[in-house]
């Protein structure tokens, strides 16, 4: 009896077992369009099924941590910008918060409100890319164009604010580089009016409630809550697995406790909880929640007494000897900075806990047994940015 289950014809000497295909090693990347940067995934495949997967990273390694030890604290900011280049505001905010916590600097409510506004605008802009490229990964090209068009409007606001469209260097230790320009609140309201009434409903219609999109993703890449916690998935990836944990609620910074917003959680309404669809769903709904926060922050900003945004910027940042681990909720999850100071002008050690890095660490676990086409869907659903993984 051969392995195919049929008895061989009489006189047949062919070895049917030899027909079993060998496992094939497939190198996916580093120039693969669906790997969101330069990620190489080594797949051991049996036909279309992945038997084992191994991610290889480091192609974008720019020695952030080593650079940080050789420049002073404000000098780290531009490097921090360049880690997660899709959501730079979140990176610099995290580092600013860490150093402020270490040096005991208290920023004014005005600065905090500006930070909330730009961080949430950045969250919307970042999710635009995340969802757009994800839709493109699995075969829908139009949403990508629509979403980049909408992201562009937010980048215009940022350009108006600080002169840069991608890498802002806007958050400083103890303040901001510039005050918001006159008329910023009005322009942002105009943008949000369009976002709430047109962009967001259109996005929901076009992608997240689209039957094809749902059928494609509702059963793919299921991540249980235990697995998510063990591999330190955070942000939308964790919330997609059904755990409502958000640092903006759990350990508020920048006055997030004063805002009224919901934490969207994946509910597995079309398939098992924690699927690729749930993670994307969370991102989409988060954009609306961000819009809510920005509305409240703008109202608050207009009633607030304007203070100098450089008021608490120290002339020389020199935190006392000590160390701090500070987390903030970046668009991709919890971004942690471990900063050690020896009392000098340069940081003694800066370690970044990147949410994408930890999200990729679970990849080999989940890719096992998947189809190759689903591996693409899985990578995209984690919303990884290789610049942040490799640092």
């Amino acid at each position: 009896m051969s392995s195919t289950g049929f008895a061989p014809p009489p006189g047949d000497t062919w070895d049917y077992d030899a027909l079993d295909t060998d496992e094939m090693i497939l190198q996916m990347g580093p120039q693969h369009p669906a790997t969101h940067g330069v990620l190489r995934v080594e797949l051991r495949t049996d036909g279309e099924v992945v038997r084992a997967a191994r991610p290889h990273i480091g192609y974008l390694h720019r020695c952030f941590e080593k650079h940080a030890e050789n420049v002073d604290y404000p000098g780290v900011m531009p490097y921090a910008d360049r880690m997660d280049y899709v959501a730079s505001m979140g990176n610099t905010l995290g580092f600013a918060l860490a150093v402020e916590k270490l040096a005991g600097i208290e920023t004014s409510p005005y600065v905090n409100t500006i930070r909330v506004i730009v961080a949430e605008l950045q969250r919307i802009a970042s999710h635009c890319v995340a969802i757009g490229t994800y839709a493109m990964d699995i075969g829908a090209f139009t949403p990508f164009l629509h979403l980049l068009r909408d992201r562009e409007k937010i980048l215009d606001l940022f350009e108006w604010t600080c002169g840069a469209r991608l890498l802002y260097n806007y958050n400083w230790v103890g303040g901001m580089s510039h005050d918001l320009p006159d008329g910023f609140a009005r322009a942002t309201r105009d943008l949000l009016r369009e976002f709430d009434a047109v962009t967001y409903p259109e996005l929901v219609d076009l992608i997240i409630t689209n039957k094809i999109f749902i059928k494609r993703l509702a059963d793919v890449g299921v991540c249980s809550t235990e697995l998510a916690i063990s591999y330190d998935l955070t942000g939308p990836n964790l919330r997609g697995s059904g755990l409502a944990r958000d640092l903006r609620k759990d350990a508020p910074y920048c006055g997030y406790e004063n805002y009224d917003f919901e934490i969207p959680v994946g509910d597995g309404r079309f398939g098992p909880l924690g699927s690729c669809l749930d993670r994307t769903w969370v991102r989409v709904v988060e954009m609306q929640e961000s819009s809510k926060i920005i509305h409240q922050a703008l109202n608050r900003l207009e009633k607030m007494e304007k203070t100098d945004v450089h008021e608490t910027v120290p002339r020389r940042v020199k935190p006392p000897k000590g160390e701090v681990y500070c987390r903030s909720e970046a668009p991709r999850g919890q971004l942690g900075y471990y900063v050690v100071s020896d009392g000098g002008v340069n940081p003694y050690r800066v370690k970044v806990k990147s949410p994408c890095f930890t999200a990729l660490s679970v990849f080999h676990h989940m890719a096992k047994g998947m189809m190759i086409a689903d591996v693409v869907a899985l990578i995209g659903s984690f919303d990884i940015v290789l610049g942040e993984i490799d640092r």
């Binding site: 990273i57 480091g58 390694h61 020695c63 941590e65 080593k66 916590k101 270490l102 697995l227 916690i229 063990s230 591999y231 330190d232 755990l243 944990r245 759990d250 350990a251 000590g322 160390e323 701090v324 681990y325 500070c326 987390r327 919890q334 942690g336 471990y338 050690v340 003694y348 050690r349 370690k351 806990k353 890095f357 930890t358 990729l360 660490s361 679970v362 676990h365 490799d390 640092r391």
Partner: protein, 192 residues
Amino acid sequence: MDAKAIHDALVGRFGEKILSADLEAVSPFAVVATEAIVEVAEFCKSDSALAMDNLMCLSGVDYPKEEPPRMEVVYHLYSYTHHHTFALKVHLPRENPAVATVERLWGVANFHERECWDMFGIVFAGHSDMRRILLPDDWEGHPLRKDWEDPEYYNGMHVKPTEQMAERAMGGEAIGVGPFDFTPPNANVETE
């Protein structure tokens, strides 16, 4: 639980193995004996009052100027149930630093420990896949150590600015560094 209560719970259970602690620090931590780190970590994770089910961060730090010189591995823990954080540290010698892996407790430690090995040369005994992660496989040395010096060449490419490049840079010239510097190494030899 606050840091003091966590520390008390650890000391109550492990006594001598908790070597020291700083509970007044911005991020409080306790130093654990190297050989006890796995059992302490396991206790932190499984004890229902602590329930630190999340390893937020694992970092190495090099302290060559301390007396005695040492390396540290820092484990930042968080509890999703109780919302408290705490850090554990182990002190390692700078020569052949090694500590047991905690990969079995938290899956994410796999990547963090590989990075720590890559950057500091700290060996995590029992780790399932101890390879470099960010640097290329043929890289020599561990660059985040404080005594690190840039190599002159990597695979035939200049990776360290030469004296003559430094001179040109001081003269205001924009020069390439690393793989983009095509200046021949002996260009400063006078040809006249």
